[in-house]
Symmetry: C2
Subunit: 345 residues, 2 copies
């Protein structure tokens, strides 16, 4: 007992018409008589006819679906982005296929190939923190395949890009710590391969120097997996706390870095902000519960998803290739919890 779908042929046979007539009637073509249209429409309704999108895709050489590649959907930042993507995509009749790299370059390559071979019409990509070699994406892009990068973008490819002003986010976060009285601010950063990491560190450095503090590489620690693994964060923080002049504050520049940093501080029974100042990048809606004194940099995730998708679909649907690619920079938001100033202790 297998599921057999109704086709245009069945309708044609039942009504004594040709398939083309039925096809045209269903598409409400002007060349079909009202009478025939009514007949066809009524009958299709009755037997619950559903056009086969696969046949359509084959014919039209488009699948009306777009692929998304992110590191992890179980990350509030990315799941919010996905909600933004969906809202636009579904609105415009596109389906969405999500693949996770889990921060692994190999999985990213496999996913890209998999999605491309599944005949998606375009790709929304935020690269993994391991990614350096880009040939898996370049080869697609060179063949004119629509790709839009968001958040974790790639300099060497000419495409639409949607990012957050990471420099600004980190600058303001660092400055907030300085204004709160901290003198020795360390940076807990993600993979050094990522654009976002570099930009955030620049903001951090600039804020320090603008405020008369010295930038010292010893106070910058990278976590290749963006803090996904607790051990990474633990090692980094252990090293920071071993420095002759211990940091009195930390800026954690990613979602998981922030939560795992909190976990570490808690384990070591270090209180925020009494023992250690902290500002973290985080889109988790629970930060107020996690720590009463945690100021966070919040990213406009939903908007990133919306904007990226609009650009991608625009590119997909433009007949001639797009010549100039946009680079959209959205502002982050620094949410300050008052109790996080050092004076308030």
């Amino acid at each position: 007992m297998k599921f057999e779908a109704v086709t245009i042929k069945d309708i044609a046979k039942a009504l004594g018409l040709s398939t083309s007539t039925v096809s045209r009637a269903l598409r409400d073509s002007y060349e079909i008589s009202p009478e025939t249209k009514r007949l066809v429409l009524e009958y299709s309704e009755k037997i619950n006819y559903q056009p086969n999108p696969i046949a359509l895709s084959l014919k039209e050489k488009r699948s009306r679906s777009i692929g998304i590649i992110v590191c992890e959907i179980a990350n509030s930042f990315f799941s919010q982005i996905i909600n933004g993507i969906e809202s636009i995509a579904y609105d415009k009749g596109y389906n969405v296929i999500i693949a996770q790299s889990h921060e692994s370059y190999d999985r990213e390559v496999i996913n890209v190939q998999y999605l491309a071979s599944r005949s998606i019409d375009g790709l929304l990509v935020s690269v993994s923190s391991e990614t350096q070699d880009l040939k898996h994406l370049k080869s697609l892009h060179e063949r004119g395949f629509p790709i839009v990068f968001f958040d974790r973008i790639v300099d060497e490819m000419e495409t639409h890009k949607v990012i957050v002003d990471n420099f600004k986010g980190a600058y303001e976060a660092t400055e907030h710590l300085i204004k709160s009285g901290y003198k020795q601010i360390a940076a807990l950063a993600g993979s050094e391969y990522l654009s976002i990491t570099k930009e955030r560190l620049k903001g951090y450095e600039q804020a320090l120097t603008d405020n008369g503090l010295v930038y010292d590489e010893a106070y910058v620690k990278h976590c290749l997996h963006g803090g996904m693994l607790y051990n990474e964060v633990e090692n980094a923080l252990n090293q920071l706390l071993k420095l002759k002049k211990k940091p009195d504050a930390i800026i954690a520049s990613a979602d998981k870095l922030t939560t795992n940093c909190l976990r570490y501080l808690k384990k070591r029974k270090l209180k925020v902000p009494d023992d250690m100042g902290l500002v973290g990048f985080s889109n988790l809606d629970l930060t107020d519960l996690l720590s009463p004194s945690l100021s966070v940099v919040r990213q406009p995730a939903f908007e990133i998803g919306e904007v990226s998708t609009e650009l991608l679909i625009k590119q997909i649907e433009s007949k001639r290739g797009i010549t100039d690619f946009e680079r959209i920079v959205l502002p982050p938001q620094l949410l300050i919890r008052e109790s996080s100033t050092k004076e308030s202790v």
Copy 2:
């Protein structure tokens, strides 16, 4: 400048062969000479030939993709399930398409229709908390379309079902509170339409009566949206705290109920467990950070995903219809934090 894929035809033309020969060579058919095979394989490799899955789908009447319907991917329980689903699906060559209902019945119906019309081979469903009418799923199921329910299942449909032992989870959670010295335990429950809610409440009730406490409906509050909206939880808890005999403990029977309950208690400056005992269902990996004294019921989410997907794919790939459907019940895990006993105060 449009992306033009290489087809079997191009290879045939270039090599002076017929398409059927090329097709067979690519599939390593025994009827093709080693020489020809080598030729074809080498050339396809060179020009990076990728078979068109859409043409394949049309021919084979299967898309090798399965649909997932959940309420929310930004919920650790469901994102863990999705990881489990992916791991099996990709392993078996299936693609996964995720749709979110956001706890809305209307969106669920739209998504089911959308996915079904996208020619997926099967559907993994966890219904929304609003869902009562099942005709959108029944009509598919009646036509022999493979559906597997997980977690939030539906009694009236004969399909594979994968669930957690909700009775047990709630029973043990409630008993833990009782053993910890609480006498007046309230239940913060999800939508009353959901199977999981009913089962959890049964476990709660049984634990009470087994331990000589009375079950009183006034101490049970439902949140239609499963705690997704803070207001829901706030209203429910406000009502509970207005009772002449206030509850001294709460069992929160879903992820979002737990976190929003914590948020409420914090707002009201009620400490756990001093002012209020609490055990929550939660798959969030941050519960230890959220509250130092929060025991949680953890669900085997990844496993749910794996098992459901195995069942679904088995059903998809079985030629004859499946006659007896399995109902798999996985055990939850009660994670006890020692400081949560009332005596420890």
